[in-house]
Amino acid sequence: MSAPAHPPTAPTARPERRRSLVVCGVIGAAVMAAVDEIVFHQILGWHHFYDRSTPGVGLLSDGLLHTAELLALVAGFFLFADLRRRRTLAPAHAWAGFFLGLGIFQLFDGIVDHKLLRVHQIRYGVDVTPYDWAWNLGGLVLLAIGVALALRAARRGRAGSAP
């Protein structure tokens, strides 16, 4: 086997750990937002499209967030493709970022959107407390997985940085 002296795109093809983490974090947050939109708005019909009690600032923040998610999903996909094209994707950091993104979005939606801005509630006509707990604990679990993966990736990164 004739191994090349350099990898094909040397000398820059070193894994970009931080960039992998951030890009996949953006994708994770956008994926969670899409899941929320599809499952809770469209399939279950639990969330209301527009709750008349939503204040103006809630409506504005929601519109901004919704559009940002959409753009983030597209941008994240292309940034990810760029990392792969340059062979600089660090998979462990990418997974950590993805779970951090999922967890952060879920918690943000559960605390800021549902409770502080009161854009809409998880479900209507029932006691919403258990739903809020389940929602936010779910977010916390995802966030914890992300933190654990990030720590592991950082440890491995340090161990493997001297080839």
Binding site: T9, F49, T67, L71, A75, R85
Partner: protein, 274 residues
């Protein structure tokens, strides 16, 4: 299901004029593209499809069947004329095609000087194009203009023309696929897309509860129309974002290949990404 036509009594003269104009534009585009290909230039076939479909949009909105409910029907028309049509036309790069096929002479020179003029640069400043587009929408749906336009045909025609023109300007400015002199950066174009998307979503969501002043659409009609506007807007925004991100991806790929070939000339790399 009952379907009604864009104009009250079937395709009127205006609808026919639009349909014929769309057809003529599509024929001109395709014949220019064919000439280019015969000459040996590469011009992807999907651009012909995109332009023809884009041209068919306003014709469909004018004479084709629309869903039930006056507000929902109007919203579908607007989605076609103001968002889908501009995107499909801009993706076909009509200015590039025109500049490549026009014979050198006064006409081509005038077109080129128009594309490179200071006025075009100002008009294509993305936030300004966005203001004309989405600002016009807020004016339409949050003042009495919409209620009035339902009884005044010329105002209705003017509004549709504005929606098409502003949509074209905005899409052209954000995608920036054609050769104009002033090239605004990715950041300003992306930020403008974000702002427009947010303004569009807020307007759509608010109309779910409160219709345009002076109108009395049923709640069901209003709700369907608002959701058509919201999710339809999402689709077109996602497509615009894909165009933006895709052109970034292609440009960075070209830059990387150039760097790689430069390194190759120094004898440092065996293989560059194709």
């Amino acid at each position: 299901m009952h379907v009604h036509h864009g104009s009250a009594a079937g395709p009127g003269p205006a609808g026919l004029v639009i349909a014929v104009a769309s057809l003529v534009a599509a024929v001109l585009y395709v014949s220019a593209a064919v000439r280019l290909r015969r000459r040996g230039d590469a011009w992807p076939w999907w651009r012909d499809v995109s332009f023809t479909a884009g041209g068919a949009g306003p014709a469909w909105a004018a004479v084709g069947p629309l869903p039930d409910g006056p507000f929902t029907g109007h919203m579908v028309q607007h989605l076609i004329v103001g968002m889908t049509t501009p995107l499909l036309l801009v993706l076909a790069r009509p200015l590039t095609l025109l500049l490549r096929t026009l014979a050198p002479g006064a006409g081509r020179r005038r077109l080129l000087s128009l594309a490179h003029s200071r006025g075009a640069g100002v008009l294509l400043f993305p936030p300004w194009a966005a203001l004309l587009d989405v600002g016009g929408l807020w004016l339409l749906y949050r003042t009495e203009v919409f209620a009035t336009s339902r009884h005044v045909p010329w105002l209705n025609a003017l509004i549709h023309t504005h929606v098409l023109a502003a949509g074209l300007l905005f899409t052209f400015a954000v995608c920036l696929l054609d050769p104009v002199r002033r090239r605004y950066g990715l950041l300003v174009r992306g930020a403008t897309l974000l702002a427009v998307g947010a303004a569009h979503a807020v307007l759509a969501r608010s109309m779910y509860a409160v219709g345009p002043p002076g109108t009395d659409f049923t709640a069901a009609d209003l709700r369907t129309g608002a959701q058509v506007m919201y999710y339809g807007g999402d689709l077109v925004e996602a497509a615009l974002a894909t165009v933006l991100a895709g052109s970034w991806y292609a440009a960075t790929g070209r830059a990387e290949r150039r760097r790689c070939r430069a390194r190759g000339r120094l004898g440092r790399v065996e293989r560059c990404p194709s």
